[in-house]
Amino acid sequence: MASEKDLNLEATELRLGLPGTSDESAKNQMSATPRSNKRALPEESMSSNATASKNCDQETTPHTKAQVVGWPPIRSYRKNNLQPKKSEAEPSGIYVKVSMDGAPYLRKIDLKVFKGYTELLKALEDMFKFKAGEYSEREGYNGSEFVPTYEDKYGDWMLVGDVPWEMFTNSCKKLRIMKGSEARGLGCVV
């Protein structure tokens, strides 16, 4: 685990103090900011190796982008629709929460880094240490204790894999790896 110094946390730290100072009182006043929704630091980020290294690059380069949720205050529509001049990877991914029945805390993954369902399922399986089983359109996930499901933007819980990948990434709001016994209504055979 890299030490705090190596990760240059101070450079990315948002606090009420002048740049270059490490004022004790400024640190105390910072109680608001640690709870803020900053981007996960590299060692906390998702299991997918691709994403982890991508994050490392972004967090430790000199031009550190302090990515705080909701800052700068620009409408999401504008953020999503303005095509920047440089066409490098956009920093805004499609982050969705992933929960698994029985797991004590949630994870977050960026759907944008996956090219399709196979990659996504592999990443989920690695992250939560389970096997999803074979997917078939008719029967859902066969031969598995756990079933990947997602909530779409209309609040409905759907089986992962039914719709085209693009449609899925556009409408998925969160993922839940359900215990097979609960997923019966989704047409799965456990």
């Binding site: 900011t33 982008k65 705080v68 800052w71 700068p72 205050p73 303005l82």
Partner: protein, 582 residues
């Protein structure tokens, strides 16, 4: 009011129709509200003659009560989610649903003609019901809404026989690539305004051309990215009477036939005063637009990421009559200097970041703003995303432009001090509020202490909306504002060290305000509960996304997001499970 104070005249001797006719001249909501308070008969006449209603918070009153209060309702404006929802601070499914309103109005046979919505969740079902329930429906304006697809638009197009206006601004619309535009029947010739710039999908170009051709009243047309240059040129030929044009794609070959035809067509559009779009743009071809530039009063190039600074400045040099300019920061400080020397009538300027996530790259600084303030003394509305700001610059701006009504400054690094003096920006903003006595809306950024709030409370007497982020040092800051800004209606605060003492001491104020938002501050659950208990006319809502249940949190724990607002109808019934209604 109109009749002087002669005691012998009793307005009640005038028949109702006369009073009604008089009230017709009273347009502003505030004045009409005052009129209804004068006496019972005025209340009654005003009630039945009121056609336009504005609800800044859709949860302040319920649809049934609104309909009972104003049965003659024809035009309704509703705002749903709190402003910070625009910046992803409010989870999906928070609320702001349109459907109950449509259902209630349809049931009571309200003769709805106009609906304007902001930050609401609009389902296809509600659009369909709307289209079928109000035969005289004329105008639909949706701003920053979501939840609907092009199927809902198809229903509107098919069923609203007298539709004049369909204006979609920055909505997230699921595009089913259907033929919604083709659903406007041939008999529909009433369109005056059509804006579908925010749609992502293809549309039937032939249908569009036919629609425009049969709409002689069409004054405003804003196209989406999928409308190619070729079609644009053909549309202009059919609609030379346009006043407001939003191009779709503006990519073409300058040597092509289409380009020549476009140049000819645009010359005959002598009425265009407002220009936007250029969602995709080939920079070399902006010169075709020059002929109409001298008449433009509004230019919106804030989505034209393909234009570089020199292209922008060349264009702007032709726009001497510009009153409103929305632009990207790639124009640079020098470019803003060109704006300053050319656009002396400028009233509103918005400079957006072209690369919002790279704080090291914003191309405008305090210099550009100072230049604009020197050249454009009529400036009254500002939204400025910049790399840095100095107190000296703000003081200069305050001296040059005393007419600001809206002043929103966003320094991309939110706690950046004055880079020259390393001081907080308290004095700069202080100068703004002291100088601009008519200031109604203010957004702060940069390194700020309690002092800036002292100034705001002291001088910003007309302030109605204040947005604060990463600022202040103690509860005193928030209290200065609550105690000093008598006209405050909306206060939104994020990541500031304001806590329970400030929240509770301001208790009496909140009923005079529309709403208060506090997120990532020092406010505890206990204080919120106490506030909710003491103020029954306020809804105090906590947004809790951590999947903890109520029983796990004790009162001393800080809440992440609190939103409170005054209401006549108590707790809302549509709150999702992550919203706790205290």
């Amino acid at each position: 009011m109109f009749w002087g104070s002669r005691k012998t005249i009793n307005m009640n001797y005038f028949p109702d129709e006369v009073l009604e006719h008089v009230f017709d001249f009273i347009r502003s909501h505030k004045d009409r509200n005052s009129v209804s308070l004068v006496c019972k008969s005025w209340y009654k006449i005003e009630k039945y003659s009121r056609q336009k209603v504005f609800l800044g918070n859709c949860y302040s009153i319920g649809p049934e009560r609104l309909i009972a209060r104003f049965p003659g309702l024809k035009s309704l404006t509703l705002k749903g989610k709190p402003h910070f929802a625009d910046f992803n601070l409010v989870p999906d499914d928070w609320g702001g649903f349109l459907y109950p309103w449509i259902k209630a109005m349809a049931k009571s046979r309200i003769g709805l003609e106009e609906l304007k919505l902001k930050r609401m969740v609009v389902s296809d079902k509600s659009l369909e019901l709307l289209s079928k329930s109000f035969p005289n429906f004329k105008s639909l304006v949706l701003v920053s809404c979501e939840g609907f697809t092009t199927d809902g638009l198809a229903a509107i197009a098919s069923n609203c026989r007298f539709l004049k206006e369909l204006d979609l601004q920055e909505n997230e619309v699921e595009d089913h690539r259907g033929h919604w535009l083709s659903c406007f029947p041939e008999s529909c010739t009433s369109l005056a305004s059509l804006n579908f710039a925010c749609l992502k999908g293809e549309i039937n170009l032939a249908s569009l051309e036919r629609l425009v051709a049969r709409s002689p009243n069409l004054k405003s047309l804003r196209l989406n990215r999928a409308v190619p240059f070729d079609t644009l040129q053909r549309l202009l030929i059919r609609a030379p009477q346009l006043v407001d044009l939003g191009t779709g794609s503006y990519v073409h070959d300058p040597s092509s036939e289409a380009y020549n035809k476009f140049k000819a067509a645009i010359q005959s559009c002598k009425s265009i005063r407002s220009l936007s779009g250029f969602l995709e743009v080939a920079p070399c071809c902006m010169s075709a637009i020059y002929p109409i530039c001298e008449n433009l009063t509004f230019l919106n190039l804030s989505y034209a990421a393909g234009l570089q600074s020199n292209e922008l400045t060349k264009l702007i040099q032709h726009c001497k009559r510009l009153q409103r300019l929305w632009i990207l920061d790639c124009i640079g400080d020098k470019g803003l200097g060109v704006v300053a020397s050319t656009c002396n009538e400028l009233q509103e300027l918005r400079v957006f970041p072209s690369d919002p996530f790279d704080a090291g790259n914003a191309a405008v600084t305090e210099e550009g703003l100072v230049l604009v303030s020197e050249g454009c003394p009529k400036l009254n509305s500002l939204l400025y995303f910049c790399q840095q700001m100095t107190n000296a610059a703000l003081i200069t701006v305050a001296k040059n432009c005393t007419n600001f009504i809206r002043f929103r400054l966003c320094i991309l690094n939110p706690i950046k001090p004055d880079p020259v003096t390393n001081q907080p920006l308290d004095e700069g903003f202080g100068a703004i509020v002291r100088s601009c006595k008519g200031l109604k809306r203010l957004s702060l950024s940069g390194l700020l202490t309690d002092q800036v709030f002292y100034y705001i409370g002291m001088y910003a007497k007309k302030l109605e909306m204040l947005s604060v982020a990463f600022a202040g040092e103690s509860d005193k800051g928030m209290l200065y504002v609550l105690n000093g800004c008598k006209k405050l209606r909306k206060l939104e605060i994020r990541d500031c060290p304001f806590g329970d003492a400030a929240l509770l001491e301001g208790m009496g104020k909140y009923e005079t305000m529309r709403s208060l938002w506090m997120s990532t501050c020092e406010v505890t659950l206990g204080a919120c509960k106490m506030l909710a208990k003491k103020m029954p006319n306020l809804n105090v809502e906590i947004i809790n996304e951590t999947e903890q249940t109520d029983s796990n949190l004790d009162d001393s724990q800080k809440v992440d997001k609190m939103y409170l607002y005054r209401t006549l109808v108590g707790h809302r019934e549509d709150a999702p499970e992550f919203v706790w209604l205290l």
